[in-house]
Amino acid sequence: MHVCDWKAAALLVFAATMPCDFGAESASPPNPVRDAVADLRRDINLYNLVNGLQLSRQQTATILELARQADAARSEAEEKAQGALKSARQAFADLRTAVASNQGIPKDVEARANRFDQQLKDLRERAEEQTKALEEKLLATLSDGQKLVLANYKHCLIPTPDLKDPTRVGQASGTDRATAVLRMLRQIPKPVYDRDREQIFARHMELISKHLGKRTPEEEAAFKQKFLAVIDEARALSDVDFEVQKERLADALKPKDKIADAVKAMEAVGASLGKPGKAAQILLAPGAAGVLAERLALLSAPDGRAQTDLNKIQPADSCQDGKCALDGPGNLAPDRKPGKKEGR
């Protein structure tokens, strides 16, 4: 099962557009276990992207250097912010007292709060500019194909099939879930299908709402009509026709991914405001340098390519009983049994 935590992803997009959120305080008390889990989640997410990008040794080294620079910039900005934070604390405390009394805010208190708030904002924007510059350098190291993978990447714990096990050349079976669902629905006997048709749709809708966003009643009604028509068509087709048309039918079953669209829209808003994008949020995030250093060490390790001793290989069972061609046709006994007896 693919655990794509969309809400976390959306929050991450917002959170990460503010590399140093000076002055913001955590709402919940410190919890080392929760933090450790969050760190693991972040590392896994980063590894999933790094694996999907198929970064070369050179690219990994370059991005690692950029991630270290991002860490250094963050520390420097944090240090610079300390003085401003202390001043802001006093100014905000005075403002709090004034707001709590609900008797109007004295001009000087308002001005001081505004000034220090602006100071924190400036510091944050400067840090963002630095991150943005590093991100541009990062993107310059990626190929067009890698940029495409990055654009389509969804934050996840378990990588999606296209990252985990992409379709290989000559592979007979596909990994598309919609096709698998259609194939399964074709197997259901007619009376059962007629009886459970509505239930099948309801279940499908439940999954859609959970993973792709809730639909309005109008959208749901329109999709229901389309969904049931596609399934009816898939069931009515011959085996050959279904196999040839399954891709088109499966595409028709996939509704719009509202959550992904929302995340992309937020990314676009972030980009228009000059905020760092997805590449910086993941590959230049705090902790990324550690993961990248680990990956670089792996890529730099000798792969120990000793030749396998072929004499130690156990041939396939099916090969043993048929004796394969190990003895060659020249050595074939006249009554050799190359295959098992089928008794057709």
Binding site: T167, V244, G339
Partner: protein
């Protein structure tokens, strides 16, 4: 345990039906799960005592009555050899032609890709073992005669049909029939094969095909015997025969960590290719993914594939690719002259095709392949 009268009668009826069915069918016969058809094999010799010898592949199986060839598709029925992998594909897809994998053949187009059960190799890493290492009677088949295949090509407006996933040698008679019909209909047929086939059937097939990708799985006898279960020499002979046919040819090698990735072996292989087939035959280095009986090995490191590709390029192979790794710069087609990217791909997907009339748009160099 008590049983009701109804249960007792039901069980008696089931037992009776099973017994009757068992008597009616030949002993050991498995009923096909889908469409089952057969055709008499073209290339075999009748021997004494209703034995036969098959000459489709270099195994030259000698079969007694009732026995089945090593490929699991051809059976001796009372002295006549029939192929049961006929008109009955068990897998059918509309795939990008790049999945075949042909990269210099109508890039970016779709193909009607099919496969029938059976194979005359026993590769320990077979990625389609569920169908390739089984018999046609055990797979769920569809009925697709040559005419049906042509009709599907027309209906979907597909330029090609591809015999892939399993080994076309094991269903040579069907492949030949379909390829002939497809050619007559003005469309094209291509195949992916392990090239363990005799010269005559290969020549017959090549006459009807327009292109093929052949697997050169390793470059020594021991590897082929131990890992693929067949001899090595016939493979080279078949590849040379395919090249001599004038049909478009590409080669593919799945690089298996520690088994066939020794740089010296890769170098020898590339030297042989350049010397015997020429520098223009594209060579694909595929990433191994643990499968079937080789699940304990790791995936091929990308660096190993890069090293193989570099060796190929340094030995004079003009078009060396990396497959099963995406995105990677080894997915693209480069001009051997000016090195500009001609076809940009991400895995099996063509992102851009800059070729102009089969030539590099920059230096006008002609790029070998079937482009239209």
């Amino acid at each position: 345990m008590e049983r009701t009268r109804r249960e007792f009668l039901y069980r008696c009826a089931c037992g009776g039906a099973a017994l009757a069915g068992g008597l009616a069918l030949p002993c050991g016969r498995v009923v096909a799960r889908g469409y089952d058809d057969k055709i008499e094999v073209k290339l075999y010799k009748k021997l004494a005592d209703r034995k036969i010898q098959c000459f489709v592949c270099p195994l030259h199986c000698i079969l007694k009555d009732g026995e089945t060839c090593f490929c699991r598709t051809r059976t001796n029925h009372a002295g006549t050899l029939y192929n049961h992998a006929y008109n009955s594909p068990c897998v059918l897809n509309v795939d990008p032609i790049e999945k075949t994998p042909l990269l210099h053949f109508l890039p970016g187009t779709k193909t009607l890709a099919l496969g029938l059960a059976g194979c005359n190799l026993r590769c320990l890493y077979c990625q389609n073992w569920q169908i390739a290492q089984d018999e046609p009677v055990n797979t769920k088949n569809m009925k697709l005669a040559a005419d049906d295949a042509v009709a599907q090509l027309r209906a979907k407006d597909l330029p090609t049909i591809a015999f892939t996933y399993t080994e076309p040698t094991s269903y040579f008679e069907y492949a030949l029939e379909v390829a002939t019909a497809v050619r007559q209909a003005g469309r094209r047929a291509v195949m992916a094969s392990a090239a363990y086939i005799e010269t005559q059937p290969l020549q017959e097939l090549c006459a009807q095909l327009h292109g093929m990708v052949l697997a050169l799985k390793g470059f020594d006898q021991e590897f082929y015997l131990k890992v693929c279960g067949v001899r090595f020499d016939p493979i080279l002979k078949a590849i040379e025969t395919a090249k001599a046919s004038g049909r478009w040819l590409e080669l593919t090698t799945l690089v298996i960590p520690t088994y066939n990735d020794a740089p010296d072996q890769i170098r020898d292989m590339c030297k042989w290719i350049v010397k015997n087939l020429g520098p223009d035959v594209p060579l694909h280095f595929g990433r191994f993914v643990p499968e079937y009986q080789m699940r304990k090995l790791p995936q091929t490191p990308v660096q190993t594939l890069e090293e193989c590709r570099n060796i190929a390029l340094s030995e004079g192979v003009r078009f060396a690719y990396i497959s099963n790794v995406a995105p990677h710069d080894g997915n693209h087609t480069y001009c051997p002259g000016c090195k500009s990217v001609l076809i940009r791909r991400i895995g099996l997907k063509v992102l851009e095709n800059n070729l102009k009339g089969g030539r590099c748009p920059k230096c006008q160099r002609e790029i070998p392949g079937v482009w239209a």
